[in-house]
């Protein structure tokens, strides 16, 4: 991890115990293997021990708990479904999904730290890199020694990445990189970035840009009211000379970055369930304890409507994610299917956070409970990695065959 000395971390541990219990209304656990459950429970225990005690404070102070990069690496959250020969987990896609679910149960920002490292920085090297690039980067990224980030979105090109202006020009053994990328998770502390840029023929290539290359800077974006425990920045390239050996040889065009996004969106479809579960669990417990008119508010019909709808939506989202995972395990999950699950599950989680907030009354807006933090986080998750609307249009195009984007 890159540390220029400006990344403060003064977060204090809370003495409050994380009481989270999972609720499995449809015995979805029976669809999981022993290994999936072991992975899920391990990450759940890790989150309770390492994330829950600090996350409210980190979020309030907008300080990224950078030491968690090492912890995430140790638990095996970086590239768990990439092969063991590169120091990764060698697990299947459902295992990757439940890991993301449990991380996001803790906080969407912590899940983002892992999503970006695994799906957006390591995955493109694994999928499109040379064997030499894989051996050079992947083991050190799996162990957390090297932190990566991913540059696709630009200040003027979000939903339309094909319009990107970041570019590379041929110069002997090197290319010269110019442009800027925006909203880059992990960028201020990253040691390297996977950057998507157009070559002189206008074709999109993936370039590994390393910290320390002249003309490459990563200014931090401040003032975020969401994902406050995750660090976000820009990537700025001013005549950065990048050796041609750093170009990912096996991909050209938008399918490069889009396949990474598919992988990350898949993880988000699972992750959002975690945030929803945490809100539901907290709302259920609170409503059983909170008494009004002489009895627990959980006994009132309008509270029950909220709770019943929450667990219904969580259950549907779990089944969607599990089916998507089963398809992904045999390489059959399509980008359109992933879009549907990402869109549905994130929106589901955000709706549940809002309902849970109402059940908590005034307490729901404080950092005594995780609700408001999840809600603010999910506002980002709703539009990053493909906005809620864009994913709808992807489904629309899939079912009609007609492109409504342009």
């Amino acid at each position: 991890m890159y540390d220029n000395g400006t990344h403060v971390y003064t977060v204090e541990k809370s003495v409050k115990t994380d009481l989270f219990e999972s609720h499995d209304h449809y015995n979805v656990d029976e669809l999981l293997s022993d290994d999936h459950k072991l992975a899920r429970d391990a990450v759940r225990d890790w989150v309770k021990a390492e994330v829950s005690p600090i996350i409210e404070d980190a979020s309030e102070k907008a300080q990224c708990p950078l030491h968690l990069f090492k912890g995430l690496a140790e638990i095996g959250a970086f590239g768990p479904s990439l092969p063991e020969k590169y120091g990764c987990g060698g697990m299947d896609e459902i295992a990757y999904g439940v890991i993301m679910q449990e991380l996001e149960r803790g906080d969407s920002g912590i899940r983002s730290m892992a999503s970006v490292q695994g799906s957006l920085a390591m995955y493109p090297i694994y999928r499109f890199g040379s064997e030499e690039q894989k051996m050079k980067w992947l083991p050190k990224m799996a162990s957390g020694e090297i932190i990566g980030c991913f540059g696709l979105t630009e200040p003027d090109h979000g939903s339309n990445p094909a319009g990107m202006t970041t570019n590379i020009k041929d110069d002997g053994d090197s290319v010269i990189l110019n442009g800027a990328k925006m909203w880059i998770t992990n960028s201020p502390v990253a040691d390297m970035a996977i950057v998507w840029a157009k070559n002189e023929e206008g074709r999109i290539k993936g370039v590994i840009v390393e910290r320390g290359m002249k003309g490459f800077t990563t200014p931090e974006i401040h003032g975020k009211l969401s994902l406050r425990a995750s660090i976000t920045g820009e990537l700025v390239f001013e005549d950065v000379r990048v050796p041609k050996a750093n170009i990912l040889p096996n991909v050209e065009g938008l399918k490069g970055p889009l396949s990474c996004l598919s992988k990350a969106r898949y993880g988000i479809a699972w992750g959002a369930i975690g945030a929803a579960m945490d809100c539901y669990d907290s709302a259920l417990r609170y409503s059983m304890q909170r008494e009004q008119f002489g009895r627990p508010i959980a006994g009132f019909q309008l509270t029950q409507k909220k709770l019943a709808e929450m667990i219904t939506e969580i259950t549907k989202a779990q089944l969607l994610a599990w089916r998507l995972g089963s398809l992904a395990n045999v390489g059959k999950a399509t980008p359109a299917q992933i879009s549907m699950a990402k869109r549905n599950n994130v929106n589901m989680a955000l709706e549940i956070a809002r309902e849970a907030r109402q059940i908590h009354g005034g307490m729901g807006i404080t950092s005594e409970y995780p609700i408001m933090r999840h809600m603010m986080n999910l506002e980002t998750v709703l539009t990053y990695e493909g906005t809620h609307d864009i994913h709808l249009l992807i489904t629309g195009m899939e079912v009609t065959g007609l492109n409504a984007f342009k």
């Binding site: 072991l38 391990a42 021990a49």
Partner: protein, 246 residues
């Protein structure tokens, strides 16, 4: 250093406890199971620490049906070298102890660990019974253990203080809180566990002539009585007459 860690499967700590069959059997419906925390956090982790520092290997043993494999795999993921499941319903502490003793007899373990108790039936019996059956010394409720060569120094929390015990291997020890810290398995460990041997052994014929006649639940509707803090006489009266606690 060859260590055997006895592990049992217990309901998850937040499980709803119900009984069936005229209150003679625990209702496992909808209950998730975990490795008994005393076996996992204290016994297994300390055993692993000792072999990591001194060399050697840790084997897990469990008496139970194949559904217990999920719990055993966690132990392998945390770091045990291999595991043995003795394929039988664990009907009583003596039955379990006889199975483990029969298995351990020919294996010459230096140390046999158990947790100080299981969190379901809280019997604290199996460790002592194994020691008796194998004619080994038994140290119960140990909260720390250091090893120098084949000499172990253990601490036991006793009423009002600590007892420090020293003895040579082999012996049986039951591990209490303080012995070690929880170790969370990582993804690599979970994948490595798939390649580790989980052997299934046939159970010995062992009679168990005890049976559960009934489980009685604590009455759920015991009302809370609020007493004026100034009124000690009323508190004493209630404790004496109603709760019959004094």
């Amino acid at each position: 250093m060859k260590i055997l860690v006895c592990v049992s499967k217990t309901p998850e700590t937040t499980a709803n406890i119900n009984f069936t069959n005229n209150n003679t059997e625990f209702d496992t419906n909808g209950v998730s199971f975990i490795m008994n925390p005393y076996d996992e956090w204290y016994a297994l982790v300390r055993a692993l620490e000792l072999t990591e520092a001194n060399g050697g290997s840790v084997t897990i043993v469990n008496v139970g049906p194949s559904i217990n494999d999920a719990v055993i795999k966690k132990g392998l993921a945390i770091g045990a070298k291999d595991a043995v499941r003795i394929d039988a319903e664990p009907t009583s502490a003596l039955f379990v102890a006889k199975q483990i003793a029969a298995y351990a007899k020919s294996e010459a373990y230096d140390i046999i660990f158990t947790g100080k108790e299981s969190i379901d039936y809280n019997g604290s019996l199996v460790g002592g019974m194994i020691a008796e059956l194998l004619d080994l010394p038994y140290i119960s409720y140990a909260s720390s253990m250091e090893l120098a060569g084949s000499t172990a120094t253990l601490q036991r929390e006793i009423e009002g203080g600590t007892e420090v015990v020293q003895l040579d291997t082999p012996f049986v020890v039951s591990a209490a809180k303080g012995m070690a810290e929880q170790r969370i398995p990582n993804m690599r460990g979970i994948m490595m566990a798939k390649k580790k041997p989980l052997n299934v052994a046939t159970a010995e014929a062992a009679q168990s002539n005890e049976k559960v006649v009934e489980f009685k639940e604590v009455p759920k509707d015991r009302a809370i009585k609020m007493i004026n803090p100034e009124d000690m006489a009323e508190l004493v009266r209630l404790l004496h007459e109603e709760a019959k606690a004094i």
